[in-house]
Symmetry: C2
């Protein structure tokens, strides 16, 4: 018989991967809780009418459809697996609006599914971890998300830079140069300034269909430099005639002021190359990049003014970000930043020489667990070598060996698996040893 | 536009439900960790070849099949949503057997999907919470599962009775009375003894096709009474000729002895009416029933000797149980046993009278969060009534009100939302107040 397998693009997570993933999610969750965010969960399957038309034509093609076994194969399935957490969240807000207390602060950590072609780092099932504040347009919400980013990455020990931009500034620039549909081309061009220089950028802009007039007007923006404040001041002059642009500059200025007042230690830059693809963003947009690993954005999001409009509830403003758990996992692994002792790891294994010793160990184990110590008892008096290699393979730091001598003296022989040192200890001494380790 | 909806048989979990569900899962997880169990996760979708034929004909019909949008409607889908955690776990063991350290102690908490007809208490998507020890036939594993049951329900405050039986005893009884295929009929009959009496039970057994000889031989078993030890002793005499039966009695006896030696406080009974439907059980079987709520089994499981055989790896013995999160949720709700303060609930809201006060509150909030206090700042200086009713609706116990006076004296006015009492406090006094609450 062949070894069984799993569908392409999906993954099993074994104990080590899960302990790391749990560390990531519990770190993020505990920061969310400090800011009063509450968790919700939505069903894995949504009605096709909820999902279709929300992700563009390409997105629609990536939806997984679900059939009951009872349904005929040629019936159009009425259900699909969720593609992200944003559309189900918008659906949730509209459906439950009478029960929700606004401003609604929610987070959601669940898998999503996309029928993408599987490739390195891209999976057909992966977790998203979204946090949003809905029902207020106060920029205090943006500030809080920045503070959450600061605290989460401080706890992880990952050095990051937070890139900020504002969709209204981008709209203002496009309006100012007379090319309102060229926002993406403009941001791509600005992004290449450092690499290919002004002349080549201008050449590329012409190739992308910008008029010479538009390219001319774009020059001072391509040459923007200095601090975030310098850039905002320069933009204020350049975009003086664009009401939208000025509003975006005002929002960015207020957020920078709030961030400065909050004594934030995060490295932050106003990044006019940042556009973010999703078309529902209308205000501040964010991306977080790790400074010490080349991996793209590890967190991102922004302000949206009409997310719930698609489900018939207009004018509900919100702002949210999403933490990329898979990429954070890779960064922590590459930088070797996981804590030495994972929160759920076994602290002590009992290894025994015979049935009586096994019973003795079970009694001790019970007492240790009552003190909150995570203990395993090897379930049979197997060969000592086998029991020790089990502890070794599971990286259990201490083994309490029980033979006749130990039983007689009401002790165990504790082996420190790292140093190899052995010490004979009473139950109380063992408590102290493990608890202070 | 109509309110959006979700597929029938599925559920949204709002903040209150999620905080309760998180309390349930985190309680169970922390007990699992005390016993050294490690978490794994498997993909939501498995290959149809993994799923088909594992749940009987009825089960196969309840599988949800998944289609990529790219697949033709009349192609047979090659993937389906998992129906339980057991078959994916068996697949996982076989697929990863070279990486796994046996005995393998794993737990798994993930949703499963069944295309059942939705009805009260039965959903098409629900979580299972399974814990198993694989690769040893030591009854110490059964003991540990009993201890886990004891500790989990002690922490919940739910009074329960643990029902134990052994499949080999049931097989021995069926063998002894000469009706090896009538195990279910026998257990159903034993179950009705108290309600309908011996005569009616015998009548029903005849209707179910048992011979008079078989019914006659069953009489001493129907009349079994007394303590667990009394029952085992009686069975030892009755089943003296059944090797299988005697092995089952031996296993039950050893487990009862181990439980007694462990000073277990759980109410436990040998329950010959307990059969459990799943045909892969071969040894001890378990069910936990709440004593103070009528709701059926809230935890169940047993020993299986050949779960991985279906995937080509024979003779791997294991034992496991599954906690029914939805039913535990209902029991905790009915008995009102949730803790007064949920672990992630907001402890304090800042309510402010103006923009300057809002900035002041943001600074205080940052200091409080650094001490681990879960704080919200109402994101705009809205009408005080609106801010207070927000705190009320979210059951936030304290509101720190900030106006001009408080800013001048470097204090806040703390309102206890339960008593209505108001006190003017400095930052340090506020720390102490919240931390000692």
């Amino acid at each position: 018989m062949n070894k069984p397998n799993i569908p392409k693009g999906t993954r099993d997570f074994g104990p080590i991967e899960m302990s790391r993933r749990n560390y990531i999610f519990s770190t993020i969750r505990s920061v969310f809780a400090l800011y009063g965010f509450q968790q919700i969960e939505t069903p894995s399957m949504e009605l096709m009418s909820t999902l279709m038309g929300k992700y563009g034509e390409e997105g629609d093609k990536l939806l997984f459809r679900i059939q009951n076994s009872g349904e005929k194969a040629n019936e159009a399935p009425e259900k699909g697996l969720r593609y992200d957490l944003t559309v189900p969240f918008a659906r949730y807000i509209v459906q439950h609006r009478d029960e929700i207390q606004f401003p609604f602060r929610r987070y959601q950590i669940q898998p999503v599914w996309r029928a993408d072609r599987p490739q390195k780092g891209r999976y057909r099932e992966f977790y998203q971890c979204d946090v949003d504040i809905i029902g207020t347009d106060s920029l205090v919400s943006e500030l809080e998300l920045v503070q959450i980013v600061e605290e989460v990455y401080r706890r992880f020990g990952i050095r990051v830079c937070l890139h900020l931009n504002n969709r209204k500034i981008l709209a203002g620039i496009a309006e100012y140069i007379g090319a309102p549909d060229k926002i993406v081309d403009i941001t791509v061009a600005i992004d290449k300034m450092d690499k290919i220089g002004l002349d080549n950028v201008n050449k590329e802009l012409a190739e992308r269909g910008l008029s010479q007039d538009a390219i001319g007007k774009l020059q001072p923006i391509l040459n923007l430099g200095g601090s975030n404040t310098d850039k905002l001041n320069a933009l204020r002059t350049i975009l003086a005639c664009s009401e939208t642009g000025l509003r975006g500059i005002g929002e960015a200025q207020e957020l920078f002021d709030r961030i400065a007042a909050s004594n934030c230690q995060l490295s932050i830059c106003l990044d006019l190359t940042l556009a973010r693809g999703l078309n529902y963003y209308t205000g501040m947009i964010f991306e977080v990049k790790a400074l010490d690993v080349q991996i793209g954005s590890i967190t991102g999001g922004g302000r949206y003014d009409n997310l719930t409009g698609i489900f018939g509830l207009p004018n509900v403003s919100g702002v949210g970000i999403s933490f990329g758990a898979d990429r954070i996992y890779d960064v922590l692994t590459e930088l070797d930043l996981y804590p030495a002792t994972m929160p759920e790891a076994t602290q002590l294994l009992f290894a025994t020489f015979g049935d009586e010793e096994l019973n003795y160990a079970l009694t001790w184990a019970k007492s240790l667990r009552q003190k909150g110590i995570r203990v395993e008892v090897y379930p049979e008096p197997a060969k000592m070598k086998k029991q020790m290699s089990y502890a070794d393979a599971k990286a259990i730091p201490f083994v309490a060996i029980v033979g006749g001598n130990e039983m007689q003296s009401d002790t165990v022989m504790l082996k420190d698996m790292q140093s190899g040192e052995q010490t004979q200890l009473t139950l109380n001494q063992l408590f102290d040893k493990i608890l202070t380790n």
